[in-house]
């Protein structure tokens, strides 16, 4: 049994354990769930240590027949990109569980259900990044909606039912298009190489260009909804405003990455020609997302809405990097996914604490927090600096790689994208100024600073942001072979310096 499978099974066994625990001991449930996620993290770290960095092939492969009449397999395996995303997932889960200690108590159902949902979600998040069978990927891709739907609808705040429904409908629409494309690809495969859903086998198909374009679009629209690309983004702010901080972190930090990850793993790998055809359009959409998300973030009054729109801007950078098809762009985009996960986590968690203390998520209701709650204010400030990609923090490395990678092939889009850094400064600093600076807003004088549990939850995130700002090499070394593999398969090479000697 591959370590990946172990990684998937541990949270599931944890769910069984959760329901075996005696009734009425909420603290025990919480401790147990965190314990399970930490065990999973340890396994993930073991896996990362045993990962062969120089190798661009899939590792930790496992393949078992599932529905043999259709050639459907339980097939998993990871390359560098999947590895770092799985690591990010397993790091984030214990952190959000610790950070959102009390989130489960005001829900529609018991805390037990809440922790079960998150652990099930963890299984699926690992599975979706590891799946190498298109059908398996599709099933998990869709099944992930269920726990998230219940997490938003059952434990959220405000108009949570509506937000959950909007999220579900959007995602189902995307999933439907993807299902059609999956079936289409399968039919073509059956005619050419026999019935299989194996992603490596499928990437060698010969598809006529009209069909390829349609199939590409089926996958791409599903992914563009997931990693919201303008104009398919409107579910995200609604969901972020209603979800609990922990859910928001997992939703924006991990689940939305499935979209951008899917673009690399499926859109480009299976349909390289169509990807090439649609690149100009996708680049335009990415640029619109970057600028539009930033403008809307500036115009937001709700702090969670603001974070959601900054994410839309950042997803624009990620897709830009992916479709620039240079090694800097691809590695940068993959690294961006990880960094965005952590920087959004920091933002959502601190914002969540601010909101729960103040009882309001309107930015104007804060003010002067720097003097009242310095540790919380500093955490928010550092998270904000990461969102504006300050050099020295890890998000800078990825953002700059994306822009440099884009510039070597498409200079004009890179120039337009670069103007986004000014808008990023504006939305972060405006928020910092309104919420942390200035005189203390009446009603905020007695807010309490972060307690020990919250400090322990936020410290690793900030440490990761700082450490990988200076030493991104361990991650980029893992990503490089995978990016190279993607590019080679799609038939691209890095542009050469123009003024060669």
């Amino acid at each position: 049994m591959s370590l990946v499978t172990v990684l998937e099974l541990v949270p599931l066994l944890g769910v069984l354990g959760l329901f075996a625990l005696p009734k009425g001991s909420t603290t025990l449930i919480k401790q147990f769930a965190i314990g399970v996620s930490v065990v999973d993290l340890v396994i993930a770290i073991l896996m990362a240590l045993r990962f062969d960095r120089g190798n661009s092939a899939m590792q930790f492969v496992e393949s078992r027949n599932w529905i043999s009449s259709f050639g459907i397999k339980y097939a998993v395996g990871i390359d560098g990109i999947a590895l770092v995303l799985i690591l990010m997932t397993t790091v984030l889960v214990p952190i959000v569980l610790l950070a959102g200690w009390n989130e489960s108590e005001n829900g529609r159902w018991s805390p037990r259900v809440y922790y079960a949902l998150i652990l099930v979600l963890e299984t699926m998040m690992v599975g979706v990044f590891a799946a190498t069978d298109v059908f398996l990927f599709y099933v998990i891709f869709e099944a992930m909606l269920i726990p998230v739907y219940f997490l938003i609808g059952g434990y959220g705040r405000g108009e949570r039912a509506q937000a959950a429904m909007k999220f579900l409908l959007y995602s189902l629409l995307g999933g439907l298009l993807m299902l059609a494309a999956v079936i289409g690809t399968y039919v073509i495969a059956t005619n050419q190489i026999g019935s299989t859903f194996d992603v490596t086998a499928l990437s060698s198909l010969h598809i006529d260009s009209a069909t390829e374009n349609l199939l590409f679009l089926g996958f791409f629209i599903a992914f563009a909804i997931k990693a919201p690309l303008w104009p398919l983004h409107t579910w995200l702010p609604t969901a972020a405003k209603s979800a609990t901080p922990a859910t928001s972190v997992l939703l924006l930090g991990v689940l939305d990455k499935v979209g951008t990850y899917g673009m690399i793993r499926f859109c480009i790998a299976l349909f390289p020609h169509a990807a090439h055809t649609f690149t100009p359009a996708i680049i335009v959409l990415s640029l619109i997302s970057i600028l539009y998300g930033a403008f809307l973030a500036i115009g937001q009054r709700d702090i969670n809405g603001l974070i959601a729109f900054t994410s839309i801007s950042h997803f624009g950078f990620i897709t830009l990097g992916i479709f620039a098809m240079t090694s800097q762009g691809l590695t940068g985009a993959s690294l961006y996914m990880v960094n965005h996960g952590f920087s959004t986590a920091a933002l959502f968690l601190v914002a969540g604490w601010m909101v729960s203390r103040r009882g309001s998520s309107t930015i104007e209701d804060f003010g002067g927090l720097q003097r009242v709650t310095p540790v919380m204010a500093w955490s928010f400030f550092i998270a904000g600096m990461s969102a504006l990609a300050l050099p020295g923090l890890s998000s800078f490395v990825s953002e700059f790689l994306v822009l440099v990678g884009t510039f070597t092939r498409y200079p004009i889009p890179a120039i337009i994208g670069t103007t986004g850094i000014v808008l990023a400064a504006l939305y972060v600093l405006l928020t910092v100024q309104r919420s942390l600076h200035g005189p203390t807003t009446p009603g905020n004088e007695s807010l309490t600073d972060l307690n020990l549990r919250e400090k322990i939850a936020i410290a690793p995130v900030i440490a990761i942001l700082v450490i990988f700002g200076f030493f991104p090499k361990p991650i980029t070394d893992v990503l490089n072979p995978a990016s190279h593999e993607v590019m080679t398969h799609a038939g691209y090479e890095d542009p050469q310096p123009k003024a060669g000697k």
């Binding site: 409908l169 937001q300 590695t331 050099p391 790689l401 103007t419 000014v422 400064a425 991104p472 000697k501």
Partner: protein, 628 residues
């Protein structure tokens, strides 16, 4: 090249100290400022040792490097975190650590009443670390980290008293204006990588001869944009005046002596790019000339002593930028002016801080007057700085500024006359507004209330001022004797043999001309400010425009801020009504449709039966028609 293993301590020491002071919190309140000052002093000691060890080496061996680790390595994009200490960077390192240490000492006393003194010193150390990284990085990307680091430190220090909304806004404005410049630096790095496949100074220098002029011009223009943002040059100058919201030692260190001169460093460091593109050079000259006049003009109308000095800084950096556009020899003079300016302007800012310290933080010069009598040391050190900046021989500014004016005239043709004329006019205006500052502050009659009890500042404050005043006297002469600085910098900027040649105007003529216009400026100021009303007179339209910083904020507000806000509102509205509207529209249509369809389900068996019959008939008819 020599390899060195202790360059990293220059950066690591202040960085670690800043981190410790910030992380320890209130525990370090008692001794934090001493640690910070000690660390800053030890970086200065390292810098001095490095300087002498560099002098003892010769030729190519003078430059020292230290490769720390591989920072980013993706495809052909390889950036090492490595440091380079050469003849150019050692000038900056000495200035930063030297002036930085003096200002640390000064701040111990200046900030002694502030509750958050420890935090202030942590930020100062952070700044020193970032600024040293800026000048020590061996590639544009390493420089970028320092570049943004000093921006962050500047943001934190301008907004040090951010509980006052105006100060928080000023900090944000500085950061955003700097970010506009950062677009330039980002794009410059991208161009460098796309053109040369390298972002290190050495790699770019090597590739320059092979690149097209268009690419080099673009590269130069982007570097200039970056420099304009960081050095408050036209058109990104508007943040510097507001940046005076920070504590005065900050203004002296960051917004006079070091950070704002980073643009000059960047252009000088990239001399090989500008030397290869005349268009880029002309842009540099234009920006420098416009800013030196702009800053000088603004300086004439400021009543806030710190803002007057800030305008002066802008103008003096205009001189330096202008000089960097004047070819190989210009770089050396730019650096020379930068160093002398570092002494006299930092000294004057500390003097201003000393005055404010004694005057309950009053900054309006119209409420000063006759302070020279109560604060003699401050008055004398400020006066020495004044003589240096207006360029009276043998003070420092005389050597450095006259060289720039002379070189400007000597580029020849009508361009030389225009640029040289602008520099000369700037010198006259400088003399006017600096004399105004002196007259308003230190001489004349006392205009302060009796509650203010101006007194001389403690020794911890005046000792740094005296040291800087000595620098203002001697540095110019030292740098110029036997062309010491020009020769020192020669390997970096290729200034060899460029200084002589067919001079349009002899040095003596230029000096005479400059001294003449300076005398005129001083005279006008003395005559005009014999009596000073406490409330500023209304003035004519021109005065009012100059008081409003030549409408820079009005311009930015009309052209950038308001359209930006309108655009934001438009997008927010569009997102709600249009894009989400379409989504909700689709949902709504389905809902309305199903509400209508539901009416068929009326629950009467007979109507269901009827519909069934009708359906069967319709089906049969269809089949019949198809088969027909």
């Amino acid at each position: 090249m020599t390899t060195s293993s202790h360059l990293v301590y220059l950066i690591a020491l202040p960085l670690v100290s800043a981190a410790i002071l910030l992380l320890l919190g209130r525990i370090a309140d008692k001794w934090g400022h001493y640690v910070a000052t000690l660390v800053s002093a030890s970086t200065f000691a390292i810098a001095v040792i490095e300087f002498f060890s560099m002098r003892s080496r010769s030729g190519d061996a003078r430059a020292a490097t230290q490769d720390l680790f591989t920072w980013i390595s993706v495809g052909s994009f390889n950036v090492h975190a490595s440091l380079l200490l050469d003849q150019l960077s050692i000038c900056f390192v000495l200035l930063i650590t030297g002036v930085g240490t003096l200002i640390h000492i000064y701040s111990i006393a200046y900030m002694s009443h502030d509750h958050d003194r420890r935090r202030f010193f942590a930020y100062l150390n952070l700044f020193v670390a970032a600024m040293l990284l800026l000048v020590l990085g061996d590639s544009y990307l390493n420089l970028y980290v320092g570049w943004e680091g000093v921006g962050l430190a500047s943001y934190l220090l301008i907004g040090f008293w951010n509980q006052k909304p105006a100060y928080a806004v000023a900090a944000k404005k500085a950061f955003v204006a700097n970010r506009v410049g950062d677009i330039g630096l980002s794009l410059a790095i991208m161009i460098a990588f796309a053109q040369f496949g390298s972002v290190s100074f050495a790699g770019v220098k090597e590739g320059v001869p092979h690149a097209s002029t268009a690419a080099l011009t673009a590269l130069g223009a982007m570097l200039l944009l970056a420099a304009a943002g960081k050095s408050a040059q036209f058109p990104l100058q508007s943040w510097l005046g507001d940046a005076m919201a920070g504590p005065t030692p900050v203004s002296a260190l960051i917004h006079a002596a070091t950070m704002v001169t980073a643009g000059v460093y960047l252009i000088t460091r990239s001399n090989f790019v500008f030397d290869a593109s005349h268009t880029a050079q002309n842009m540099v000259i234009a920006v420098g000339a416009i800013t030196l006049l702009f800053g000088a003009l603004v300086g004439t109308a400021k009543d806030d002593i710190k803002k007057a000095l800030a305008a002066s800084t802008m103008s003096q950096i205009g001189y330096m930028i202008l000089a960097t556009g004047l070819g190989p020899i210009g770089y050396a003079f730019a650096i020379m002016h930068l160093l002398t300016h570092g002494f006299f302007k930092a000294g004057m800012f500390l003097g201003a801080g000393s005055v404010m310290h004694g005057m309950n933080d009053e900054v309006n010069m119209r409420r000063y007057g006759a302070i020279g009598k109560v604060m003699p040391i401050t008055a004398v050190t400020f006066g020495l700085g004044y003589l240096a900046i207006i360029g009276v021989p043998p003070f420092a500014g005389f050597y450095s500024k006259d060289k720039i004016i002379e070189t400007a005239f000597n580029i020849g043709g009508s361009k030389g006359v225009i640029v040289g004329g602008a520099a000369l006019l700037g010198a006259a205006i400088t003399a006017f507004y600096m004399t105004r500052v002196i007259v308003l502050t230190f001489t004349g009659t006392k205009r302060w209330d009796d509650e203010a009890h101006p007194h001389e500042s403690p020794a911890l404050m005046w000792i740094p001022m005296v040291i800087l005043a000595v620098g203002s006297i001697a540095s110019g002469f030292l740098f110029n004797s036997g062309h010491a600085l020009v020769k020192w910098l020669e390997p970096v900027v290729n200034a060899s043999g460029a200084e002589e040649g067919e001079a349009l105007l002899a040095p003596m003529t230029v000096s005479a001309l400059a001294l003449g216009v300076v005398a005129v400026g001083v005279a006008i100021a003395i005559v005009k400010y014999r009596t000073v009303p406490v409330e500023a007179p209304a003035g004519n339209v021109l005065t009012r425009i100059v008081r409003r910083d030549l409408l820079q904020d009005d311009f930015n507000d009309r052209v950038l801020v308001r359209p930006g806000q309108a655009l934001t509102r438009f997008f927010v509205g569009m997102d709600k009504s249009f894009i989400d509207g379409i989504v909700r529209g689709v949902g709504g249509t389905i809902a309305v449709g199903s509400t209508n369809l539901r009416k068929i389900q009326n629950g009467y068996v007979r109507s269901y039966a009827l519909i069934m019959v009708v359906g069967v008939l319709a089906l049969l008819t269809t089949i019949w028609m198809v088969t027909l």
